[in-house]
């Protein structure tokens, strides 16, 4: 049975994506008999290229992919180089999980409320410092260059890249490398950048690719923070898909393929940048410089990540204040009164979406956990060693759903739905599984592979069957990482917007779809309620992941592990 697990995972991940892409290719060239397209033609592409502002959309999607990733990666590397072992380091490490679990949409709302001309920041400094009696007429959120969009993405991608880096650092023995370099006279941050970073990057390359793909094709964050005239390419594709003029669906398919091309181009450019940095960096690494820039590096390393973390936290606090605000005119820093009214009004409508969110998240996470465990156990028993980090390894397949833009293949899957099956919760759960499985697997595999094989050998010599050893030795000892993987899975599922919207046909409302749907209305108080709800659900998972092992293993310190 176990032998089939890797096959099952591969089929589950690759099958729908290939099918979805194929179903997007045909209509993009005019073929979709259900809508009367029986001849192949280039007219969808002609219609697409005639769209006003198309190239601007493309440029912003492309730039957003590269800029977001470059900034996030730089912040993470600088932090690791400059703050290693400091108090800030410990504080940030404790913050990673909550920040990672924060859904993108909630973080985007928090940022929007913070930096808008009538937002918290402007209110705090007005009118004393700015003499603004009314909000300044400045284009900050939804700016035409997508800067707000990139900022919102950076806040969320930093924790992701940081977590991936920390996991990879275990393999590198960074402390000894840095100690060696320091004995040669290198200052700590410079030493880290010169001897650890070059070995670390190949290990976090795939996560960086995933960030590029995500940032260039994201829909929900772009709807909240992104430009509007025109919006980013992915958002435009969604609008065309929903146009009552069904011929636009052909154009939407072409747009979805164009999105695939834009993401591919961003990945290729990144690869080019990698080569450039490698060439330019070699001279710097071997140049022998030991001191120059140390202070600036340390300052940037601490300052930038602090800025990102504090922005995210203040944004959430802003959501909380808005959800409780009574009458609140600009430039008052705080509302004149606080009220529970918004929560009371939202409460009746929260129940359904919260239940749906939790059901879908639990089901997809449990499925993913089962599959990941089966594959990992199979790997252990067959003694095969995973080739981590190399692009050609099977692990790359895990990243496929994260690297192929969601909008490109989900459209194809929606064709299945349009063919008559009514949208069901199961379809949504399956859609979520595509994205939950990779994260659960990545989160679990590290601990699973590092698990000391001698425990299992001892169990087997004492007469336990392989299955018995798995259930009675391995699982209990891996409880903490298992629960963490579950929490990650829940968080990923809760944050999904596009798969829920498209596969659920809007009839499977989750807190995420509801919160994003409210964005257009601009009622910040209500958005505050929903975004806060959306942000707090994943936290439950992490609280359980941290608390349960401590509760269960109260008297066995060694079993608690590090979550």
């Amino acid at each position: 049975m176990l032998r089939f697990a890797p096959w099952l995972i591969t089929t589950l991940l690759v099958g729908p994506i290939l099918a979805g892409l194929a179903m997007a290719v045909l209509p993009a060239f005019g073929y979709l008999p259900a809508l009367g397209g029986t001849d192949f033609s280039l007219s969808p592409w002609q219609a697409l290229f005639a769209q006003p502002g198309l190239w601007r959309s493309v440029a912003i999607s492309f730039a957003s992919g590269l800029v977001t990733t470059a900034i996030s990666l730089a912040v993470v590397l600088l932090f690791l180089a400059g703050a290693f072992g400091s108090r800030l380091d410990r504080w940030i490490r404790r913050l990673i999980s909550p920040l990672l679990s924060l859904p993108h949409a909630a973080a985007a709302f928090g940022l929007a409320f913070l930096i808008a001309p009538s937002g918290l920041l402007a209110r705090l400094v007005s009118p004393e410092l700015t003499s603004w009696e009314r909000p300044p007429d400045l284009l900050i959120v939804n700016d035409p260059w997508g800067l707000a969009l990139m900022a919102g993405l950076v806040i969320k991608e930093i924790p992701f890249l940081l977590l991936m880096s920390l996991a990879a650092l275990h393999q590198l023995d960074a402390e000894r490398r840095v100690a060696m370099a320091r004995s040669l006279g290198y200052r700590p941050a410079i030493a880290w950048l010169k001897v650890v970073a070059p070995s670390l990057y190949p290990l976090i390359r795939l996560p960086a690719f995933a960030v590029i793909a995500y940032a260039s094709s994201v829909v929900d964050v772009a709807m909240i923070l992104g430009p509007t005239l025109p919006p980013t390419l992915a958002v435009s594709v969604l609008t065309w898909f929903n146009d009552p003029d069904l011929s636009r669906r052909f154009m939407a398919s072409a747009g979805a393929l164009l999105q695939l091309g834009v993401t591919a181009a961003a990945l290729a450019s990144w690869w080019g940048l990698e080569c450039l940095v490698r060439r330019l960096g070699r001279g710097w690494v071997t140049g022998g410089q030991r001191h120059a820039g140390e202070r600036a590096l340390r300052l940037a390393g601490k300052g930038l990540i602090l800025l990102a973390a504090v922005t995210a936290l203040v944004g959430i606090a802003g959501l909380a204040i808005h959800s409780l605000a009574g009458f609140w005119r600009f430039p008052d820093a705080l509302p004149q009164a606080f009220t529970w009214q918004h929560w009371q009004r939202a409460l009746p409508s929260l129940g359904g979406p919260v239940t749906a969110t939790l059901t879908i998240a639990t089901a997809s996470t449990l499925l993913a956990l089962g599959l990941a465990l089966a594959a990992l156990e199979n790997e252990q028993r067959s003694g095969r060693h995973p080739a981590q980090g190399r692009l050609a390894s099977a692990l790359t397949l895990l990243y496929l759903p994260l690297i192929v833009p969601q909008i490109a293949f989900l459209f194809g899957l929606v064709v299945v739905e349009a063919l008559g099956t009514r949208p069901t919760r199961w379809l949504v759960i399956f859609g979520h599984l595509l994205f939950v499985l990779p994260y659960v697997f990545l989160s679990l595999s590290e601990a699973y592979r590092r698990f000391d094989p001698r425990w299992m050998r001892v169990a087997l010599t004492l007469g336990a069957t392989p299955n018995g050893a798995f259930w009675h030795v391995r699982l209990p000892m891996l409880l903490a990482p298992l629960l963490t993987a579950m929490a990650v899975g829940l968080a990923v599922s809760i944050g999904q917007y596009l798969p829920t919207l498209l596969l659920g046909a809007g009839r499977v409302p989750t807190v995420t779809t509801e919160a994003v749907a409210l964005a257009a209305g601009g009622n910040r108080r209500l958005i505050g309620v929903w975004a806060l709800m959306q942000a707090s659900l994943p936290l439950i998972g992490f609280v359980i992941a941290v608390g349960l092992p401590r509760l269960l293993w109260t008297h066995r310190r060694g079993m608690r592990g590090s979550p």
């Binding site: 259900a34 809508l35 929903n242 008559g420 949208p423 009839r507 209305g521 601009g522 910040r524």
Partner: protein, 410 residues
């Protein structure tokens, strides 16, 4: 001749689904009520305003109590998504098990669905409560953007463009004129004098598109072509004054016309944040309701333009492939009940005006609709008599496309 079993399948399927297929007849209302019991009705409705959403929740609770059916509000950010879905379902051969039972609709979306035979009907005129609208005296409840509804949609509420402003800012202390602009022409002059204080929702939002039509009616040399399909006239020539006007207006709008708010409710939020001094809404009682909700200051005043403003009726319709037509009709009928209409008009709830002919209602029902005319944020009595009829629906889509062509990606 051998019988091919596969060839019988469609016939078999028809036999199996046959009894379900018989569309419920509203003439036998008791039968409709019986059939509706226990059904789940999926109502796809624009959900951009939480006041509307809360009203829909109230309706869901009432029909559950009264008729034992479950009403689910499928939240849309644009009604066209629902049109697109029904069309896709029919194209894929899904003729009797669609995913939408009821749509909140009017204008170009209704025109598109009716033209493509995507609606169930006629049913509306046989709903028991429909008579209370007295269509013979109120032709607008059976006319949607110049098109006769022919019973394919049931009236639900009335909207009319209403402007509102903060009276304190127009107090004549020198910074701003005493009076807000009372015509489209005066609006341009006012915006030039007060840059950044006015805007309209981004096209294709329906409130924003309505502003375009309002401006076009005021600026066009001859409005007669607007009430016939757009293809029949020289679109460029008819709309040229509108584009000249918008080109002149945009630099003086909020964010210099480089960005527009997404929806009408967002205009209200911008007013509440003090970013705008003048705004408009489709729901005449919205400003007063927002004052009651502490969203707007109590110095807010409403008015309509001297040349009149666009008004229309919005409806609910049933897609042809809805599997729960009986339930959908029961909901449509409940929406027309004096209880539901009065609750909808209540300022504390939504403030959307009733489609019932209040003057002809029995005394007991009439009192439910009493409007608080003393409320300073409300329109003065009689202001809504100046209603401009909606142009032909084709103008809406044509204007939207032309607007995007002109202003997107500049």
């Amino acid at each position: 001749m051998p019988i091919r079993p596969l060839a019988l399948l469609p016939a078999l399927a028809l036999m199996l689904t046959g009894p379900l297929q018989a569309a419920p007849d509203p003439a036998d209302w008791e039968a409709v009520l019986d059939e509706a019991r226990g059904q789940t009705v999926y109502w796809n409705a624009w959900a951009g305003d939480d006041r509307t959403n809360r009203y829909l929740e109230w309706v869901a609770g009432r029909v559950a109590d009264e008729h034992d059916l479950t009403l689910v509000h499928v939240k849309l950010d644009d009604t066209s998504a629902a049109v697109s879905r029904v069309l896709a379902e029919r194209s894929a051969g899904n003729l009797d098990n669609g995913s939408i039972d009821l749509i909140w609709i009017n204008g170009e979306n209704f025109a598109a669905m009716k033209a493509a035979d995507l609606l169930h009907g006629p049913f509306a005129e046989r709903l028991p409560h429909f008579a209370l609208t007295y269509p013979e005296h109120n032709p607008e409840v059976v006319t949607d953007f110049t098109l006769p509804t022919e019973g394919y949609e049931s009236p639900w509420g009335k909207a009319q463009i209403t402007f509102y402003y903060d009276g304190n800012e127009f107090s004549g202390d020198g910074t701003m004129a005493e009076e807000p602009p009372r015509s489209i022409a005066a609006l341009l002059a006012w915006a030039e004098a007060n840059p950044g204080q006015f805007t309209y929702p981004r096209i294709p939002d329906f409130t924003g598109s309505t502003f375009l039509k309002q401006a076009l009616i005021a600026l066009a040399e001859d409005t007669a072509p607007l009430y016939a399909p757009a293809e029949e006239s020289d679109f460029a020539a008819v709309t040229a004054p509108l584009w000249d006007y918008l080109d002149a207006l945009h630099p003086h709008l909020w964010r210099s016309g480089r960005q527009f708010p997404a929806t009408g409710p967002e205009l209200r939020r911008l007013m509440s944040d003090g970013e705008l001094s003048l705004a408009f809404t489709f729901y005449p009682s919205e400003p007063a309701a927002a004052v009651a909700d502490f969203e707007l200051p109590d110095s807010v005043r409403s008015y309509v333009l001297d040349e009149g403003t666009l008004g229309n009726v919005h409806f609910v319709a049933i897609p042809f492939n809805s599997p729960h037509k009986a339930g959908a009709m029961v909901v449509a009928n409940f929406l027309l009940s004096p209880e539901a209409q009065a609750h909808k008009q209540d300022l504390a709830v939504w403030g959307d005006r009733t489609v019932l002919d209040v003057a002809r209602l029995p005394e007991a029902d009439r009192t439910r609709f009493a409007i608080d005319e003393e409320n300073p944020a409300m329109l003065p009595a009689g202001a809504l008599e100046q209603t401009l009829p909606e142009p032909h629906p084709s103008w809406m889509t044509a204007l939207q496309d032309a607007w995007r062509e002109r202003y997107v990606g500049r």
